[in-house]
Symmetry: C2
Subunit: 353 residues, 2 copies
């Protein structure tokens, strides 16, 4: 049995749960390395992955006997099999944020569960602390992202559309060792940059446009996340003070982050500073990064959470002037005992192309 499943079993013991049904595919991947549709059950004796004919061969080919996971085809299970899985389990956990109401009802009935209990993100919380192999994958994804940014400086030209740039980013990622995008790339130029989550359009890039590029890729399942706002031809004077403010904020945050930092305090500080400077707070300061591009911890003014060594998070303050322009600068950071290290390393000074 692998270390992660051992950890889970210990954790369940402490919660007085004798079993759990794991339905979040990211948690299944984290615990078992299985990347297929199905549900993962842990009961008193066994670890069972229930899937269907489409995935049986693939799943069996990724597991070894050491994993200690029984793979079952759902069509081979009788009603009695379901009822027996948790037969001596008083309390069984479920993932309330990753189980639909319909499935909650179905499972409770099918597995004859007495006490079906919410587990409140126990696995997601464990995922915050990255192991060496996880950091390795995130670093490789960050490196490809930096390389892509370097490449874009020579690639983007006046007259290109935002969509063309976004497509090229995807092509670059796939051609350079990434297995996928980490999320839909944002390329927002000129006025479009005032929308924090703009979708790339057919708008052509013009001289004097700020261009906000928010991109990331996946390596071995792990994500990178980086944003830069760059300039076509020249930096319009009205954008300079905003850019300087965002960059100063972003770098000050890096200085303040380390094991023990409470993200509530950092969030409050940055939000106040944005407001004091006459701008509006449009999104939170950051979030965890790992198998998901947005995962625990999520920054917020009420989130009382002390960072720990080997957390990986983003630091991404942004200022958006409606209908005019926006600036966001974001890095993926590793939290150390006494500092934070930026895993994305692209230039943050005015980049004029």
């Amino acid at each position: 049995m692998n270390e992660k499943i051992k950890w889970l079993r210990n954790k369940l013991l402490g919660l007085n749960m004798q079993g759990i049904i794991i339905t979040n595919p990211v948690n299944i991947r984290y615990l078992t390395n299985i990347d297929a549709e199905g549900i993962f059950l842990v009961n008193r004796k066994e670890n069972i992955f229930i899937t269907d004919s489409r995935y049986i061969e693939h799943v069996n080919s990724t597991l070894t006997i050491e994993d200690g996971i029984v793979v079952v085809n759902s069509k081979d299970l009788s009603l009695e099999d379901y009822e027996n899985f948790f037969i001596f389990c008083e309390n069984v956990g479920f993932e309330e944020n990753h189980l639909t109401y319909a499935k909650y009802k179905e499972y409770m009935h099918k597995f004859k569960i007495n006490n079906f209990e919410e587990t409140e993100g126990i696995i997601e919380k464990q995922r915050m602390i990255k192991e060496p192999y996880e950091l390795e994958a995130i670093k490789r994804a960050c490196k490809i992202t930096d390389d892509c940014f370097d490449y874009l400086k020579g690639f983007i030209k006046v007259g290109m559309t935002e969509k063309e740039v976004a497509n090229e980013i995807e092509r670059f990622f796939l051609a350079n060792g990434a297995e996928d995008l980490a999320f839909d790339t944002i390329v927002a130029s000129g006025k479009n940059s005032s929308m924090p989550h703009a979708v790339p359009t057919d708008k052509q890039i013009e001289a004097g446009d700020p261009i906000t590029i928010d991109m990331g890729c996946k390596v071995d399942g792990y994500c990178s996340d980086m944003t830069r706002t760059i300039f076509m031809g020249f930096v319009p004077p009205q954008i300079k003070p905003v850019y300087d403010f965002v960059l100063k904020t972003q770098m000050q945050v890096i200085e303040m982050l380390k094991e023990g930092t409470n993200i509530k305090n950092i969030s409050k500080m940055v939000d106040s500073s944005i407001k004091l400077n006459g701008f509006e707070v449009m999104h939170s300061l950051g979030h965890g990064v790992g198998l998901e591009v947005h995962e625990y911890p999520f920054f917020g003014n009420t989130v009382d959470f002390l960072l720990k060594e080997n957390n990986v998070i983003t630091d991404e303050p942004g200022v958006y002037i409606p209908n005019k322009f926006g600036v966001r600068i974001e890095d993926t950071l590793l939290i150390n005992k006494y500092s934070a290290t930026s895993l994305t390393k692209s230039d943050k000074n005015y980049v004029v192309i």
Copy 2:
């Protein structure tokens, strides 16, 4: 108010529901054309989309006054606002397959809902009947898929990896007018083709390999879905009878489909035929295609569903010989009053490259 929302309001009347909370993003897109995170509420008087700062500008820019949709930033809502949304609504519907257990509890409490009722896919079922503009988008996605298949015949060479071919398919789609993949492309060569849902690997394509390519793209949100099994260099004699059987089955199914056909009967017929020929049934015969690549109707031996004009479905029988090879042939079909028309039109005879 648009026709789709009018349809929904009538439908709710018939179900004695005075309101609904729509949480399935695909249904929100279908009803409102909004492609952003948020929830869509319909109550006695209003249609309300609740989103957050990240999407407000984008959503407002896609809606006009004629849409009759009020867009609200969640951070501007008080507890009282939530309690008032459904104040005179006796029964409020929710999407039990698209609401987590955690959100179900949260919404029931926050909106002070008395009777929170499962709606059993009313919108998904309506989505089965495609309107002209929807068919137009699907046809364009199918055309790009056919063009990609033509292109691949010249592109794939011995020594290329499955991943390289899959990446090239994605590049082709994006460069030729598709906005996205409809799903993760399958490129499975040689023995890998025996896994219906193989993930592209670093395996190189060799002479004598069958290559199963399952691909589709999105245009204006609508999907295409097509599979071909082609051959590198020559058709191995042991694969020929399997190929002939799958192709004959796939074409016979097209002949039998039209308005009024019961998909249960077709499914049973094909499954029996696969078994009678000594093979194993590994997946269902087909599924609906639209804003989602897998949507209603889903084929199955117990699914009593009569096809209707303007349904769009796949026809994809497959035979898989474990550890040896597999053959699947799939088209996206339009159901007409007296026939079915294939919207993907690529060659289905032995394609040897």
